[in-house]
Subunit: 273 residues, 2 copies
């Protein structure tokens, strides 16, 4: 899916919401455990309930991988079930030397047909560029993560007085283009959002941390908005675990609609719709 | 497997060699492709041929993941086939926020019963510590990688004049212990090996890059040797692709024996055996 198509979806859906599909057997409604493939049944219900209100789905691969062969089967079925006009993100945070990165790219782009994959840039250029061999696919690099541990290394000050994350964002932005590279930037990063936008003035950002982690949608929009929106806002737990009983999908739908309404107002204020 | 057991294996086998099990359908002998599970058949032959000369096996997970469900099945069978007194390393380079790291840990430690996993420390403390909940298992952190791209970020100079990789090694060494944490350090790093040893004077190092990538075993030993050896030297392609025909396992065996002999001499010189 190319950038213009993503923007078209944003306008059509009046939303720039991504739903994180992180199904946990300990958290999904108990009655689903009796079905043959509880993970897929859960995802299917969430997709049915939210597909009109979001433009992307982001399965975190760890949640499937930990279930072994069965988990990979659930992931494959989930990918096939997601409507083709919705952007898909393999939240895999992979990163390895060149030849190996090529294999990870093949896994997620060829075999599972994801539109994009999250990549950890720490090992440098040869660990990232193999993903660019795939047309109309996206690399989503860790720019500044939303977790507490981000301060351990991403915030370290370099001799040029920049932080490590600034250098990572700047240098990696020279490897790809704004048509094939996005950045993960945590919504909890307040004042740094504006700084990041100056380094990559025209790249799409994938933003976790709105809602349950305390980040504000309005802050993100105020600091990072660009002409074609340039934002994909992710919510995982806030949507998929909104309910825990037979009506869980209805409750997820209500949460997705709430966020979509906030986003519609923003898109309208910005005269996009 | 605990540290004393690893050292016992080193003395018993007279070797500190790790064989990287990175089977690629495009590289393994053609005749194996006719078997039901070529990847497992290849690994089985390599293990049979080399198990007396190495103390560890390190499958790089990308090589299995890219084959989908079938690849994970080959990986599971491989793990079950490796003799129980040989240390196993899941070369997965995972790294994610706390809850997700716990799932990756469960995948490789519980489900597949690996002794250790390689972890990318870039996301910080909460992405690493969940692995320490598993007893007698090891976290192997990326210290300084052997690839060209390492210079992009790992070599950046901090305001305190240290390089990023030095700060990463120093800080992460406070999270675990020398009984549950090792470091990946590329053999190609020459003069830096000694510096790294001063930061982590008593940790085991997993060292790729000897042989095909140009690193010297003697350099590594001269700079990083400690009382209980403290080194696991990995060779992947140099061993597993030593041959490409029906005698491939014999050729792998010859390569493993060659390295074991070098290591036996070193262990003898150091009066370990």
């Amino acid at each position: 899916m190319n950038r213009a198509e993503i923007f078209n979806q944003i306008k059509k859906k009046e939303s720039f919401l991504c739903v994180g599909l992180d199904p946990d057997l300990n958290k999904i409604p108990k009655y689903l455990l009796k079905t043959e493939d509880p993970i897929f049944e859960f995802n299917k219900a969430i997709i049915d309930a939210t597909k009109d209100y979001c433009i992307a789905y982001k399965p975190n691969i760890a949640f499937y991988e930990c279930l072994g062969v069965k988990g990979w089967e659930s992931l494959r079925k989930t990918l096939e079930y997601i409507p083709k006009d919705i952007f898909t993100i393999a939240d895999a945070k992979r990163g390895d030397i060149g030849n190996t990165s090529k294999m990870y790219a093949s896994t997620f782009f060829d075999n599972l047909n994801f539109d994009s994959i999250t990549v950890n840039p720490y090992m440098g250029k040869d660990s990232v560029v193999p993903y660019y061999d795939f047309k109309n696919k996206w690399v989503i690099l860790l720019g500044l993560t939303s977790n507490e541990g981000a301060k351990d290394f991403q915030f370290l000050k370099l001799e040029n007085e920049k932080a490590v994350f600034e250098s990572v964002i700047k240098k990696t932005s020279e490897w790809g283009t704004e048509e094939n590279t996005m950045y993960v930037v945590g919504a909890t990063r307040g004042d740094l959002l504006k700084k990041i936008r100056t380094i990559i003035p025209n790249s799409f950002l994938l933003v976790p941390g709105v809602g349950s982690q305390g980040g504000s949608l309005q802050d993100v929009v105020d600091n990072c908005w660009i002409d074609d929106c340039g934002l994909i806002i992710n919510s995982s737990r806030g949507i998929i675990y909104a309910g825990s009983d037979v009506d869980f999908a209805e409750k997820s739908k209500a949460e997705a609609i709430k966020l979509k309404h906030e986003m519609r107002k923003i898109l309208s204020d910005k005269k996009i719709i």
